[in-house]
């Protein structure tokens, strides 16, 4: 007796049998088509294709490396944010934590004469403390994390402003390899160091999210918190770690910025939190939790950078660029949803 699965007429059918298709070329194609991040990868390629037709410089190694270097800080934060969003929470304070890390490091090194590496470790520690506070605030009071971190965003930004008295900290006078290692150096002669930081952080988070038990707990917590609790997952602990990872990413990005620019401004990173969330969403992360991937978010970040660089190369008016990026966010998400729907309907 062939029994019709419930989902067939609930309209929720998935491409289940097509996900493990037969071999051969068609098989390879449908396997690629069914890969989690296929839709968004296509979008990234199409945008790249469009810009390279319009401007031959777009596809040059120099431009692509430059593009990745510029987006490294956003990428580091967005990939961590993805993990937090998967667990069902957000962090709007990452931009402020990014500034605090830079300010603390800069002040300790310049004003108090601390060795810059030690100062950097203190900077990261302060980022972790702020992340811990976010996690405690959200999990103990059960305030919606959007609101909770909106308030801590303003508080943390205030800390950066007060510590630096609103002034940029720059002209570090000592000789050190710090700036080269964190931001200015080049690996293999050509590749800017921030790209290595993003890659290393990305691989680390990829393993953590997609390969470890913690990753499964993270998905479960965001997908259905009650069921996760009943299955024995300590969801408050999982979420707190999520906030810590996000703040650590903000701290790391802050150090990369300090290394590259050799300067830190207390207002840096304003709006970074929303760009990070946008990159995650473009990459297929569900705002409701339980769905998302590191690779998807990386591609999401890449798309945003593609559009910005492409528009610059086309000589577009600088004032219109943000508007274009906004449009692309909407378009990318629409295309991704459509492709995902078609993939799901293919079952």
């Amino acid at each position: 007796m062939q029994r019709l699965p419930e989902s067939t007429y609930a309209g929720k059918g998935r491409a289940n049998d097509a996900r493990h298709p037969t071999s051969g070329f068609r098989g390879a194609w449908s396997r690629a088509f069914l890969m989690r991040d296929f839709g968004i990868a296509v979008v990234a390629l199409l945008i790249g294709l469009g810009f390279s037709l319009a401007s031959p410089v777009f596809l040059s190694t120099y431009n692509l490396l430059n593009l990745l270097r510029q987006t490294a800080e956003l990428g580091i934060i967005a990939m961590a944010m993805t993990m937090l969003i998967i667990s069902g929470e957000f962090d709007l304070s990452v931009g402020a934590i990014y500034a605090v890390t830079g300010v603390v490091t800069g002040l300790l090194a310049k004003r108090f004469g601390l060795e810059i590496w030690a100062a950097a470790i203190c900077g990261l520690a302060s980022a972790l403390i702020l992340g811990l506070l976010n996690g405690l605030l959200v999990t103990t009071t059960k305030i919606n994390s959007f609101i909770a971190t909106l308030s801590t965003m303003m508080v943390y930004r205030g800390i950066a402003m007060v510590l630096s008295q609103g002034q940029p900290i720059s002209s570090f006078q000592f000789e050190t390899a710090f700036f080269d290692i964190m931001g200015r150096g080049k690996g293999f002669g050509t590749i800017p160091v921030p790209i290595f930081w993003m890659a290393a952080w990305g691989v680390l988070l990829f393993l953590l999210l997609h390969r470890t038990a913690f990753g499964v707990k993270l998905y479960a917590t965001g997908d259905n918190p009650e069921a996760a609790t009943l299955a024995g997952i300590k969801i408050t602990q999982v979420k707190r770690v999520g906030f810590l990872i996000t703040s650590l990413a903000a701290g790391l990005a802050g150090l990369v910025s300090l290394g590259y620019l050799k300067t830190v401004t207390p207002t840096q990173g304003t709006g970074l939190e929303l760009e990070a969330i946008a990159a995650a969403v473009i990459g297929g992360t569900s705002m409701a939790g339980g769905v998302g991937s590191i690779v998807g978010t990386f591609i999401g970040t890449f798309i945003m950078a593609e559009v910005r660089t492409g528009l610059v190369l086309l000589g577009t008016d600088a004032y219109i660029q943000d508007a274009f990026v906004g449009l692309v966010i909407a378009l990318a998400v629409i295309v991704n949803i459509k492709l995902t729907d078609r993939r799901n309907a293919k079952g």
Binding site: E6, K12, R14, N16, A213, G215, V216, A220, L230, G232
Partner: protein
């Protein structure tokens, strides 16, 4: 049979195919004025497809439908509503933050005063509607989110009736209701029938179908298998027709009383819920907990799993006294818990079958260890065989399974941890007849392997079939513990209510 002219709805050889699946083939029947027609069938029998055709969500490939002797083929649910047909789904489409009045008048021409909705007039009309239609009183200003699931259904009933619905399709209306609420809903439905409304009533609960329906239409594999008239109602016949085979009630040998005690609970108390609860559970035993809503039975079970912190008392598992502060603790001590609502409390809808099946083990695994994909696949394969779970591939999403198979996945989740005790709240809610029997058989087989169960259910029949002993809660206290010979529907109700 009523004369043809009295037929409100007539369905003539309706067929519907989805891809390779023939969901409905040549189904014919009719619904008369003032009639309650029950719909019975397993998941996938074609009930939902038929309802969706009537509701205007799908269109039939072949066949014809007549409503009030006129051809009826609604393009969308709104058209169905205008024609006088309303469908109630399991999830009630209602705005939780608005008042009952607002929900009833939403989408209609609201009475206005100075260009603003005139709430006083609407509230008065709302109260009238409740009186006239349901003979019930109502607080028209109560917010939907503050009222019970039963009140919400009544509000929805009033909404569709105020829009001249003549035929109402109730799709599993009782799943979220307590027994007294079910009784009240049934009285309301019978009242409305007397006032000229017809109903199609869909339920997995055969007892409810038998109690309420005038006739029962049985569907199986998309075909109309037969119709039972009220005189011919009999649970055995009905479940046989639904399943397409004769179902013998499951039976088993009682575990011998020399079995060792697995769980010992002494004087467990939680103010406002239960006090001085004392009982024990032997290896291989199924202990049923009965009681009215509010008697403390579900809080007691949840407390054993660490979801509520008890104030005093002792819990001993395998002669070791333990403290349970969280589900995590409970699981470590060898307790598993299968909640009453699979969808909201059990499943992870965006994760695949193997993740859902293995999640309790993953939860016990150190964060930084690899997630053990091989273990997940092996467990999925072995559980698939052992519990005969039907799925195509362990990488498929959990939502692709039927209710019964989802329940088996939840059961496997705990079996993998080999717990001493499995707590089950409503073991077979939303599961069809065939799968229900399979789950009962499975539980019996597991008791022979030494697993013990504590179950609670709002269906006394289920407790009677499954339990070796039935503990009856009454106002937060253990009223009595009945053994298999003493436990009957009457003795349980008596102990629960007096």
């Amino acid at each position: 049979m009523s004369p043809l002219s009295a037929d409100l709805l007539r369905i003539e050889s309706v067929s519907k195919r989805f891809g390779a699946v023939q969901a409905l083939s040549e189904v014919s029947f009719c619904v008369s004025q003032q009639e309650i027609v029950g719909f019975a069938g397993e998941n996938g029998a074609g009930k939902s497809t038929l309802i969706k055709i009537l509701a205007g969500i799908h269109t039939a490939d072949q066949g014809a439908v007549f409503l009030n002797q006129k051809p009826y083929a609604p393009k969308d649910p709104n058209a169905a509503g205008r024609a006088g047909l309303a469908v109630f789904h399991q999830e009630i489409p209602i705005c939780p933050h608005l008042s009952i009045t607002a929900n009833i008048f939403l989408g209609t021409q609201m009475p206005k005063r100075h260009f603003m909705p005139d709430w006083r007039v609407m509230e008065a009309r709302c109260v009238d509607l409740y009186r006239v239609l349901l003979d019930e009183d109502v607080n028209p200003r109560a917010l939907i989110r503050d009222v019970s699931a039963a009140e919400r259904q009544l509000a929805l009933l009033v909404r569709v009736l105020s829009r001249e619905a003549k035929l109402i399709i109730l799709d599993e209306p009782t799943t979220a209701l307590t027994p007294p609420e079910v009784g009240r809903l049934f009285r309301v439905i019978q009242n409305l029938r007397a006032k000229g409304i017809s109903f199609i009533f869909v339920s997995h609960m055969l007892e409810e179908l038998v109690e309420l329906s005038d006739r029962i239409v049985v569907l199986r594999d998309g075909r109309h298998i037969g119709t039972l008239a009220r005189e011919a109602f009999e649970l055995g016949t009905l479940s046989g027709m639904i399943a397409g085979r004769t179902l013998t009630p499951p039976t088993r040998d009682l575990p011998s009383s020399e079995q060792r005690t697995v769980l010992d609970v002494r004087n467990l108390s939680l103010t406002g819920h239960f006090s001085s609860v004392t009982f024990s559970l032997r290896a291989g035993e199924i202990l049923g907990i009965a009681g009215l809503t509010g008697s403390g039975r579900s809080v007691l079970v949840r407390s054993l799993f660490g979801l509520h912190k008890v104030e005093s008392g002792e819990v001993t598992i395998n002669n070791r006294q333990i403290r349970i502060r969280s589900p995590h603790d409970a699981i470590r001590q060898g307790i598993g818990y299968i909640p009453e609502d699979r969808k909201t409390l059990g499943l992870f809808p965006h994760q695949d079958i193997k993740t859902n099946l293995y999640i309790a083990r993953t939860a016990q695994r150190a964060d930084l260890l690899f997630k053990d994909t091989a273990g997940m696949r092996d467990s999925a394969a072995s559980m698939k065989k052992e519990l005969s779970i039907k799925f195509r591939h362990e990488d498929d999403l959990i939502g692709s399974l039927s209710g019964g198979n989802q329940q088996k996945v939840l059961l496997s989740r705990w079996l993998l941890l080999k717990p001493a005790i499995i707590l089950m709240n409503e073991p077979t809610r939303g599961v069809d007849v065939g799968a229900k029997k399979e789950i009962y058989d499975l539980m019996f087989a597991l008791t022979l392997r030494g697993f013990s169960f504590i179950i609670t259910s709002s269906a006394i029949e289920e407790l009677l079939v499954l339990s070796d002993r039935v503990l009856v809660m009454n106002r937060g206290r253990v009223r009595t513990i009945l053994n298999r010979a003493e436990a009957t529907k009457e003795s349980i109700i008596h102990a629960a209510t007096t």
